[in-house]
Symmetry: C2
């Protein structure tokens, strides 16, 4: 199978660099084809600007959605954007690997999402009717592909636990898992998270590689997070509010899991 790793760390001689090299090797040995988008090494430009839209009329105000739609449809996107889109279409699985900075992905990776996720490609896909609200949340361009996060965090695991002070890791990752990956159609696997990375001794490092290897070996079998499909009848259209009988009387992010 084809695996795209999008990787965001400025220092190759880092834990993240070592984990990336391990992942590439492990996946290739299993027979997969692997491409790495090493955003720092590529000099990835993170900010959406005029220059992303090659034939736009600069005398007019930039309306990003319209500019993105036109540029994607007419193949007048900046070439770095189009290249990443080709990699996404090629991939059977996407791995986003990054250190968690301020409870989110580094700016350079957010800028990969902001720029590569064009209108007509990752959003603005599909029809709107009284039975469907576009192809999103379980449908869309990436339907049938899988995605997984590989995340390092400096803090203690208990600080990110169900009642930990940082907020539960699953909830902190929801905007990425559900909003960035499930929205355009990926099946989202449980994340691979390494905590307290500044105190990673050799024994825990070896255990980490073993656990990561296991996750990579089962990349195409692991059950995805069971988010509810948008157009499967669970949400009212067009309000997109969960039907009252499902996760009845509850709020919060867990209600979007089909098994809760």
């Amino acid at each position: 199978m084809n695996v795209l790793i999008v990787y965001a760390h400025p220092e190759p001689r880092s834990l993240n660099g070592a984990l990336r090299d391990f992942a590439v090797q492990r996946l290739r040995r299993a027979g997969h084809d692997v491409i790495v988008s090493d955003l720092y090494a590529m000099g990835w430009q993170p900010s959406i600007t005029d220059a992303d839209f090659l034939d736009r009329d600069a005398s007019q105000p930039l309306k990003i959605e319209a500019a993105s739609e036109h540029a994607f449809a007419s193949s007048t996107q900046s070439s770095d954007i189009a290249e990443e889109q080709r990699k996404l279409l090629w991939a059977d699985a996407l791995i986003l690997q990054f250190p968690m900075w301020w409870f989110a992905m580094p700016a350079i990776m957010k800028g990969w999402v902001d720029r590569v996720y064009a209108y007509g490609f990752a959003y603005g896909v599909g029809e709107h009717s009284d039975r469907r609200w576009g192809d999103r949340y379980g449908e869309g361009t990436f339907k049938g592909k899988r995605a997984m996060l590989m995340v390092t965090a400096g803090g203690w695991e208990s600080h990110y636990s169900a009642r930990g002070v940082n907020g539960r890791m699953e909830d902190l990752l929801f905007p990425i898992h559900h909003g960035i990956l499930y929205y355009p159609g990926f099946d989202v696997l449980p994340p691979f998270v390494i905590y307290r990375t500044s105190r990673l001794d050799q024994a825990r490092y070896r255990a980490t590689l073993e656990a990561l290897g296991e996750r990579l070996d089962t990349l195409f079998e692991t059950a995805p997070i069971p988010y509810r499909m948008q157009n499967g009848g669970d949400y009212e259209i067009p309000s997109m509010v969960l039907e009252p009988g499902l996760s009845a009387g509850r709020e919060g992010l867990d209600i979007h899991l089909a098994d809760k």
Copy 2:
């Protein structure tokens, strides 16, 4: 009072541009001093790189936390970072204004956080003991200052409601509110969010300005979101797990509110 607006939109002739101009004018008329960090206009560089740390030894691997600590303590940070830190220290209130892209802030603003929030400034502050775990979550460099988000979202408000398909807006913003603003000590005000911005007619635009004006007029009186202080006895040290008797038996992000 002093108000810093950090603003991230590439097009001045946009709804965000108009709201920013309105906010600056409204605050100045009320007697406040206002500085705007217009990240696109400033050509803000979003990615943490070697160049942020002026006297580092490039033959050694970049360890970001250590490099940040040293550069902040020895005043050898890149000048653009130091300048934003001075603005933060000057400000009594911080407003982060941005369009929500993919359920988070644009890359250029995340890069403002990643780079300006140095070790010893926004994290790595205070002592660790059996009674305290650093100055964070209600304490820290920005204690006594207030912060508020001004966010535009293309989607419908109901899609972001308590049971809406996107996830509840408060939960999507938790990594910013709690993780980026409350962590280094800001009192965090309820956000000002404008939904469905592509269908904003004149009547709703006028109502939006009126509501925004009211929020700006009461910027220094509005009650903050009642997040629990880390070192106030609510969390066990060092596990930083919420005491069992508080929000008993519950999980999820709301348990970090003192009134729930």
